[in-house]
């Protein structure tokens, strides 16, 4: 049977959900069965997305593997799926991280069934956003993803989970309100939600709209979209939900949250904001760049000031995602130029890389937390000799996150900065200062955890920390391999991204 003749995208999208539905009927006590079913069924989308990756033709413009099904005919919405270079990269990231996160959650013992089911639903939600070519479907999945995440944080999170989860929910829902209204307006205007049609026609709308000049309306909706996505990214000053949510979420939740959910926001910028509002984006590129730089700098400062390891990593996400936005802002400012393209390439690659490294970092924090039941940096110190393997992995991943040349983070951040420099020189210069602090907080974390005087508490008796387990290494291994691979030889992925960006903008 030819794999390519299957409706690959729907399979990728719905296999996790179907698996989850099947698992509903499993007895709750069969923890092992549930774990392995979840893990294996999340590997299927991964396998299928590899098939996609190798059969994807980067030179072909437009979307590939397109599928379209009737959904809500009355208002002109259909289940329209497809991938291009941008979404394919993201799909790959998602399908890769989900099995790893599930593997990482094997340590969960409380209500495993519900946990795994939610996790698989979450995967469908995230993938749907990346695959959707219909605005309404995009929104549907955008919102659906919230629910499992809310419960993952709320039910399996740590002490302050109630506050964190509700904050996460309210922030995102409030943010997407503008998005919803904007989508409704577009739907009313064009009687369809098909993204391709809307992008073409929307840029041709002229004259008055709702009794206001089209330009004004576009500006308002532009900001509605920007706020929705900026909250998700998150961009300063909308980022305050993130440290709470990340810190309180269970380890795998944080991995997915940092690894994929944040990318949804950035993806929204690339998929919707730039194509739909090129003029407005250009007009406000400076403002976007300002927000980006603020995220980079304040994110870095804030991260440096943390004593909670997980919070520190959470703030580092704000910092790193700032670079993505910077790249986007640069591209918005000078659409079509070579510099813009470089910046975009950097931004997309940064999304991918940050997905890998942030997931890794959160996982590693989780590993140590499970053993020590504390995340306070001050409580550690000099534990490298006790957990050498863990220490090495932590250092490797932090370096990737810090942007050490030779590892993935360097490539993408370099590209962003290289591309943005001629376009938004001052902002980029300030961002470089932020980069400096990135180094500072990562090193601070490593020093306080691994080096310095040994906290004897962890060396003896019941408190002695055990080194990382093979299962946990198995989670980290693919991440590390990719981080190194992209760092050394990024062409395989950049080629796909670059061609996609060329065709898109």
């Amino acid at each position: 049977m030819d794999v390519l003749s299957l409706p690959l995208l729907s399979l990728i999208l719905f296999v996790p959900s179907i698996a989850a539905l099947v698992m509903l009927f499993f007895p709750a006590q069969q923890v092992k069965l549930i774990r392995w079913t979840a893990f294996l069924s999340s590997l299927i989308p991964f396998g299928l997305s590899l098939v996609l990756w190798f059969n994807f033709d980067p030179n072909q413009p437009g979307h590939q593997f397109v599928e379209k099904y009737v959904w809500y005919e009355a208002i002109g919405s259909s289940v329209h799926l497809g991938v291009d270079g941008l979404s394919l990269t993201m799909v790959l990231l998602t399908t890769l991280l989900t099995p790893l996160a599930i593997l990482a959650s094997f340590s969960i013992t409380d209500r495993v069934k519900a946990y795994m089911i939610l996790f698989l639903f979450l995967e469908t939600g995230m993938l749907g956003v990346f695959l959707a070519l219909d605005l309404l479907i995009f929104f549907v999945f955008w919102e659906i993803g919230l629910v499992p995440m809310y419960f993952l944080i709320n039910q399996w999170g740590s002490a302050n989970r109630n506050y964190a989860s509700i904050k996460f929910m309210i922030y995102t829902m409030a943010g997407s309100l503008g998005l919803l209204l904007g989508i409704q307006l577009l739907g009313v205007l064009f009687r369809t939600f098909d993204l391709q049609i809307i992008v073409t026609e929307w840029n041709n709308v002229e004259g008055l709209l709702l009794g206001l000049p089209v330009e004004t309306v576009k500006r308002v909706i532009f900001w509605a979209f920007v706020v929705a996505f900026a909250i998700k990214v998150p961009v300063w000053p909308f980022h305050t939900w993130l440290p709470d949510a990340h810190t309180e979420a269970p380890t795998a939740g944080s991995m997915i949250l940092a690894g994929v959910l944040l990318k949804l926001g950035a993806y929204g910028f690339l998929r919707l904001v730039l194509p739909l509002y090129p003029q407005q984006a250009q007009e406000y590129a400076g403002a976007l760049a300002f927000l980006a730089v603020a995220a980079i700098v304040f994110g870095a400062f804030a991260a440096y000031g943390q004593t909670d390891f997980k919070r520190l990593v959470a703030y580092s996400s704000v910092n790193h995602m700032g670079f993505v936005l910077l790249g986007i802002a640069a591209a918005a400012k000078a659409t079509g130029t070579l510099d813009a393209n470089i910046a975009l390439n950097g931004a997309v690659l940064q999304m991918f890389n940050h997905g890998l490294s942030a997931a890794g970092m959160f996982f590693l924090v989780g590993v140590i937390y499970e053993r020590a039941h504390t995340r306070n940096l001050k409580d550690f110190g000099g534990i490298f000799p006790i957990v050498p393997v863990y220490g090495s992995i932590l250092i490797f991943t932090s370096m990737a996150s810090l942007g050490l040349p030779g590892l993935a983070g360097f490539v993408s951040e370099f590209l962003v900065v290289r591309g943005a420099w001629p376009i938004l020189t001052v902002y980029t210069a300030v961002a470089m200062l932020g980069l400096l602090f990135t180094g500072a907080y990562v090193l601070k974390a490593i020093r306080e955890v691994l080096h310095g005087p040994l906290n004897e508490h962890w060396a003896h008796g019941d408190h002695r920390l055990s080194d990382i387990y093979p299962r946990e290494v198995l989670v980290m291994a693919p991440l590390m391999v990719l981080l190194l691979w992209i760092g050394v030889y990024p062409v395989w992925i950049l080629d796909v991204i670059n061609k996609a960006m060329n065709m898109l903008f």
């Binding site: 549907v140 989860s165 829902m173 209204l181």
Partner: protein, 500 residues
């Protein structure tokens, strides 16, 4: 003439009520079984009607039956359903069935669920109510619509007063009955005016639709007719009866009440107000829209500040029914479509809400949200059901609420975009209170005082919850299970409105 399926469904509960009353009072379980059998039969009939309509791709008034009733006045008993009412007939079947399941009391003082006091009378009155509801949805004769409408209202009083919440039942039942009665008689006056104005000596709404009443007449009578019915639809500022009524009513009655009766008001307002007086509707749509928009936001806000679980749900109904009215007021394809679906979706959702609230209250004997905690541990089914209902309620995509609310907002965009912007605030507020209450009521640790006397759910309870959830998720994932059908109804209304 076809098989008279609509008369059958209208009179099944009525006949069942009489049979139930004839049961000896001691045969409590037999009475319940009889009630369940009748409800199941009605449910199957309603599914059959719905499915036939959908699968055959029908449009217009179907399953029509016509009997002469009072020739002197041109009064006939005409039954028939269209794309708007068929889903509501199904809804009634669903709520009736689950209502009986929920009320299935067990004669055991340690399992305080369902109706244990005089089940015979309870089911009899409930079924008379159901009969009236089916009658309204199926009537194509204006007079008979009123007839059944009133039949649906009066058992409510007894159901609340006898089996309701001791503290407020007398006040709430009286308030509810009087409000609804006022509303309906005011509409009735309008309906009689239409009858005489048309000069056609008929109450047949299919003919009255074509009557082309003078514009001034329509403008004068639209408001009394529409608002009279809308009282039952819970339109602001006449919503006052509804939260009190919901709270005081016993569980199954709350389900019926919020799930079906409020739809009765909205549906009648549509069918009599908008469809028969389209020019009036156009003239006054701004006012209806304003009231509805206020109701949407106000209801959500008041629900947000409630600490009583049931009041919270009650006010959320005000908010959601406001959306139905909002959709009506747009007089657009999208708005009406959305309202049609919202009536069904909200009906199922709120029935589920009240069912869950009832289960919690039966066990914990309090509805104060701060006092409840950890109910998930005792009744996981209820908590998951409530969560799904909550997601529907906040318009989460993938659930029926989204399928309904999205077109409503699109319709509002088309008419008054700023109203769309303002009312959308309610979505966030709703998300806020639903999430907060889910967390406070269902999660956390069970308080000390409840240890040991929180019996688990019965099989009937669980069945009801699963059954209701199926419809919400099914419709959310596959809108085409209902949309094309409602669409045909909307097309007809748009024709009457002059292809607006």
């Amino acid at each position: 003439m076809n098989f008279p399926v609509l008369s059958l469904i209208v009179f099944t509960p009525m006949v069942a009520a009489v049979l139930i009353l004839l049961m000896p009072a001691e045969k409590r379980n037999e009475t319940r079984a009889l009630a369940l059998a009748a409800a199941t039969f009605a449910l199957l009939l309603s599914i059959w009607i719905y499915a036939t309509y959908l699968i055959r791709g029908l449009s217009g008034y179907q399953f029509v039956e016509e009997y002469e009733w009072l020739p002197a006045l041109g009064l006939k008993l005409i039954f028939g359903v269209d794309g708007m009412s068929a889903p509501l007939v199904l809804l009634t079947g669903i709520v009736m069935f689950t209502g009986v399941l929920i009320s299935w009391g067990i004669d055991d003082p340690h399992t305080p669920t369902g109706i244990q006091e005089r089940p015979r009378e309870f089911f009899a009155f409930l079924f008379i109510l159901a009969s009236g509801v089916f009658g309204v949805f199926a009537s194509l004769d204006l007079f008979m619509l009123f007839f059944f409408y009133e039949i649906a209202v009066f058992p409510m009083y007894l159901l609340i007063v006898i089996w309701g919440w001791v503290v407020t039942r007398e006040y709430a039942a009286m308030k509810l009955t009087l409000y609804l009665f006022i509303g309906s008689v005011i509409s009735l006056v309008g309906a009689l005016a239409m009858y005489f104005q048309s000069g056609m000596n008929t109450f047949d709404m299919r003919l009255l639709e074509q009557a082309n009443f003078p514009t001034e007449f329509q403008i004068f009578w639209f408001l009394p007719v529409f608002l009279g019915f809308a009282v039952l639809g819970g339109i602001w500022p006449f919503h006052n009866w509804s939260p009190d009524g919901h709270v005081a009513a016993p569980t199954a009655v709350s389900m019926f009440h919020a799930g079906v009766l409020m739809k009765l008001g909205a549906f009648a307002a549509l069918r009599v107000g908008i469809m028969l007086l389209p020019e009036g509707a156009k003239y006054w749509s701004w006012l209806i829209m304003t009231l509805a928009a206020i109701g949407v936001v106000y209801g959500a806000y008041i629900a947000f500040v409630q600490t009583d679980f049931k009041y919270m749900v009650g006010f959320s109904s005000v908010s959601h029914m406001g959306l139905v009215m909002l959709g009506f007021s747009t007089l657009t394809r999208e708005g009406l479509l959305g309202s049609g679906i919202q009536m069904f979706s909200h009906g199922v959702m709120t029935a589920l809400f009240f069912a869950v609230v009832g289960m919690v209250y039966d066990r914990a004997h309090t509805r104060e949200i701060p006092e409840l905690e950890g109910m998930h541990k005792v009744m996981p089914f209820a908590s998951i059901g409530f969560i799904i209902g909550g997601l529907v309620s906040m318009g989460m995509p993938g659930f029926s609420g989204f399928v309904a609310e999205f077109p409503i907002f699109m319709g509002v965009w088309k008419t008054q975009w700023f109203v769309a912007v303002i009312t959308s605030i309610s979505i966030v507020i709703t998300a806020g209170y639903i999430m907060r209450n889910v967390r406070m009521v269902f999660f956390g640790e069970i308080p000390e005082k409840f240890h040991g006397h929180l019996p688990p759910l019965t099989f009937m309870d669980e069945l009801a919850i699963v059954f209701l959830c199926l419809f919400m998720v099914g419709l959310g994932l596959f809108p085409s299970l209902m949309v094309p059908m409602v669409q045909t109804g909307v097309d007809h209304i748009l024709n009457l409105l002059g292809g607006a």
